[in-house]
């Protein structure tokens, strides 16, 4: 009865629950996806969105206990044995993952890996050239993954996912690891391919702006529950559930910076050039590739400076140089006229990195972690002074002085990023380098951390260099923005002016690519 089948949803989850080692992770999740429909699954980290996707694909760890029903194209999937689930994967439902850098087997060519999808399902071998062309890759199939950029690798993963034109494609944060320009290209590609093939798309993202203009419906998840499901326009305009409302409020949140109060010149970079040795060949000598070329700029006391650019443009290398972690091939960086890599300079510049998980030693207590920069001081402070500085730094970032005796695993990702900021603040620096410091955080946590920065600017007159690929965040927390491209600063303008009247083509490209749904 083709008619009845057309009416039934392609994918239907009813009361799906998943527990691992007795711990409930998904609770009674119900959702439908119709053929050809684009549905976004959103929520903060740990909300169960990826788990829902893995359960649908049949890729949960073997020790996971799953209950409820999972129907796909009229078939009940949960009773099926692994070989039957495997026969569906790649052919009728496929998945694209978050981290393209590690998603491909490093020992096989991209062509072999794409062709395997067809081989494993006993389909005729694909026209690799046509398939690569369809995902916008102008590369021979004989390339290995390590020869490709992150965006290119994600296109290969997409090629594998669409090779057999499956009815359902699941994309789990497919662009989170990519820069804005690449992100918008990949989203467009996914949108076009699913439309051409008539596939349904389950799009998992923590960033509502990414899906606002492509999803038909949005499913909001929190702590393993579905809290709200509604058509995109309805949900964005009139969210019903309190959690959805708080998510939207946090996404739309604009940090209020205190008025610009800029003092004398703090840091000066002049003609900074940084080179990496090129891959060595047998006969030719190494020709150095400049990662940063003749870059000059100032940061004034209390100034809030942004640095944006596509990945590989040299912004992180430049940040490392400001911290004295990267030798300069040419030029100089000075702090109040003195060299940057002295102990005196180091106590005036601190840094917060992107990953709040990897940057703390798990065996030390918070007190010891935060006291670490204090050895930069000329006079070793007394224990009482140390305690006082730590208590003040913890209070400043909205944590409690009692937290000093805890270990790092007691804190969530957002709290850890606050601790990273507290560690940077503990010796009262004048400048903080924030290298993608809020990129890994959920929207609500991110809003709080940004407000905290604004507060510190008001209280301490802190200056910062805010490096990010997220232009909306840069816009809300900076006075001035540098745009980098291919190792050079191509535009240097006041934030408002840059966003209103971007002068350089690269700036315009970045602005055009930025998602601005919400």
């Amino acid at each position: 009865m083709p008619h009845a089948e057309a009416a039934a949803p392609l994918l239907s989850l009813r009361d799906l629950s998943v527990a691992i080692r007795g711990r409930g992770l998904l609770h009674d999740v119900s959702l439908d996806i119709a053929a050809g429909e684009v549905v976004a699954l959103t929520g903060e980290s740990g909300s169960g969105k990826s788990l829902t996707a893995l359960a649908t694909m049949g890729l949960l760890p073997t020790r996971a206990q799953i209950s409820g029903t999972l129907r796909f194209a009229g078939q009940d999937l949960l009773p099926l044995a692994e070989p039957q689930r495997a026969a569906l994967r790649g052919r009728h439902m496929s998945m694209i993952f978050q981290e393209p850098m590690t998603a491909l087997n490093p020992l096989q060519t991209i062509g072999q890996q794409i062709a395997e999808v067809c081989a494993i399902h006993r389909a005729p071998p694909p026209d690799l050239a046509a398939l690569l062309d369809r995902v916008g890759l102008d590369l021979p199939p004989s390339r290995y993954p390590h020869e490709l950029s992150g965006g290119q690798r994600q296109r290969v993963v997409i090629a594998m996912a669409v090779a057999l034109r499956p009815k359902l494609i699941i994309a789990d944060e497919p662009t989170t690891a990519l820069d804005v320009t690449t992100q918008s290209q990949i989203l467009t590609l996914l949108k076009d391919l699913t439309r051409q093939h008539g596939s349904a798309l389950m799009m998992i993202t923590h960033d509502l702006a990414v899906v606002a203009d492509m999803a038909d419906r949005i499913v909001v998840m929190n702590k393993g529950h579905v809290v709200e499901t509604a058509p995109t326009a309805t949900l964005l305009a009139a969210p019903q559930h309190a959690y959805t409302q708080s998510l939207l409020a946090a996404s739309a949140h604009r940090t209020k910076l205190p008025p610009r109060a800029v003092g004398s010149r703090l840091l000066a970079a002049r003609d900074v050039t940084i080179t990496y040795p090129a891959a060595r060949r047998l006969l030719r000598g190494p020709a150095p590739v400049p990662a940063v070329q003749k870059v000059s700029f100032d940061i004034r006391k209390g100034e809030r400076l942004g640095l944006v650019g596509e990945s590989g443009c040299g912004k992180s290398t430049l940040a490392r140089a400001l911290l004295g972690l990267q030798p300069l091939a040419e030029g100089e960086i000075t702090l109040d006229g003195a060299a940057i890599n002295t102990r005196a300079a180091r106590q005036r510049i601190q840094v917060v990195f992107q990953d709040p998980y990897g940057s703390f030693n798990p065996r030390h207590r918070v007190r010891r972690l935060l006291a670490e920069p204090l050895h930069l001081l000329d006079h070793r402070p007394s224990r009482r002074d140390v305690d006082a500085s730590i208590a003040r730094a913890l209070t400043d970032v909205g944590l409690s002085p009692d937290d000093a005796e805890k270990h790092i695993h007691a804190f969530s990702g957002g709290q850890r990023q606050r601790l990273a900021i507290a560690r940077a603040l503990v010796i009262s620096p004048e400048l903080i380098v924030l290298d993608e410091a809020v990129s890994a955080l959920d929207v609500r946590v991110r809003a709080k951390v940004l407000d905290l920065l604004a507060d510190l600017s008001a209280k301490r007159g802190l200056a910062w260099l805010f490096i990010s690929h997220d232009l909306s965040v840069v816009r809300s927390v900076t006075d001035r923005v540098l745009v980098m491209d291919k190792g050079q600063i191509v535009e240097d303008a006041a934030t408002q002016a840059l966003f209103d009247r971007p002068a350089h083509p690269v700036t315009r490209r970045l602005l055009a690519a930025a998602p601005r749904g919400v």
Binding site: R91, M95, F97, L107
Partner: protein, 317 residues
């Protein structure tokens, strides 16, 4: 690729020169005069001097080093002080036992370890894994000479399927193979146990890689993903281990050779040391060092073949 290989070749050459110098020096420092040893305590001083001249022992050390090195390059390993036969001939003779033994033992070790490691890794934590890894633990712990004696007791004395020792020579290939069977097993099993453990843990690491999840999303079952994508990635550390094991098997078989009374290289070294046959010790040691270094080079080449990233980068990541 070529840059990588050229670098490896260069390091091979440097290692060989350094090793030869060290070997020569150590033997030089070792006490005892081979000529005196050969003639016994009652030798006349004139006879002794004559023999020393004949053996070139009266030349200064650098000259003797040069003589030794250039001789070896031309295939002349010197003449044994004890047996008065060319060392090269003795070595060649012993190699007909040691080389097949080492190769067979390694092949057997891999043949056992590969399925065992795959089996255990694909059933991680289940009874099959526990059983295989328990057996491997035992294989690592049990000394191989004891295991060899068990084999002799079982297969040579009780059931009389294989000979308990000795080597008839390759004129009788079937008998020769039979003579080498028990030593091969005794040598291979402990190595197989180590290999299987390393392969299992390497495979389990590989199973957590994102590309395995991608493979399963393409429609591969866990077993297929393990064999098609996990195995080759997991083999890279195993290759390193195999290189080390082959070197060990070539020279380190001395105890097994002793148990089975086989005329192999290990026993040749042992005899030469106890008889102060220094030139034989030097040359055989150098030969073994050469073998180890060449095997390491081949391992590096195998790396480059296995891992496309090395071909481009020119250095190990």
């Amino acid at each position: 690729m070529w840059f990588y290989l050229a670098r490896r070749l260069l390091s091979l050459g440097v290692s060989l020169i350094a090793a030869s110098a060290v070997i020569f020096l150590v033997v030089e420092i070792a006490p005892g005069d081979p000529a005196a040893y050969m003639l016994g305590i009652n030798a006349q001083p004139e006879t002794l001097a004559a023999l020393r001249t004949e053996l070139s022992l009266d030349l200064p050390a650098p000259a003797r080093y040069w003589h030794w090195i250039t001789g070896m390059l031309g295939g002349d390993f010197g003449t044994s002080y004890t047996y008065r036969t060319p060392v090269a001939d003795m070595v060649a003779d012993r190699l007909t036992v040691s080389l097949p033994l080492a190769v067979m033992a390694l092949v057997l070790a891999v043949a056992v370890a590969l399925p065992a490691g795959l089996f255990a890794a694909s059933r991680r934590g289940k009874p099959g894994d526990v059983a295989v890894m328990g057996a491997a633990q035992l294989g690592v712990a049990v000394p191989n000479f004891w295991f060899a004696m068990l084999l002799v007791l079982g297969f040579a004395i009780t059931w009389r399927i294989f000979p308990s020792g000795g080597f008839p020579g390759w004129d009788q290939p079937l008998q020769a193979l039979r003579a080498l069977t028990l030593p091969t097993i005794a040598l291979a099993l402990p190595q197989a146990a180590i290999l299987a453990r390393v392969l299992r843990s390497s495979l389990i690491d590989a199973l957590h890689e994102d590309y395995i999840r991608t493979a399963r999303a393409k429609g591969l079952t866990p077993g297929q993903a393990l064999r098609r994508h996990g195995l080759r990635n997991a083999l890279i550390p195993v290759l390193t281990l195999m290189g080390l094991q082959f070197s060990f098997l070539l020279a380190g078989a001395i105890i097994i050779e002793q148990v089975f009374y086989l005329p192999g290289l290990g026993r040749l070294i042992f005899q030469s040391i106890s008889q102060r046959d220094l030139i034989t010790v030097e040359s055989v040691t150098m030969l073994l060092v050469f073998a180890v270094i060449v095997v390491n080079f081949l391992t590096d080449v195998a790396y480059a073949v296995a891992d496309p990233r090395l071909r481009r980068q020119g250095r190990r990541a």
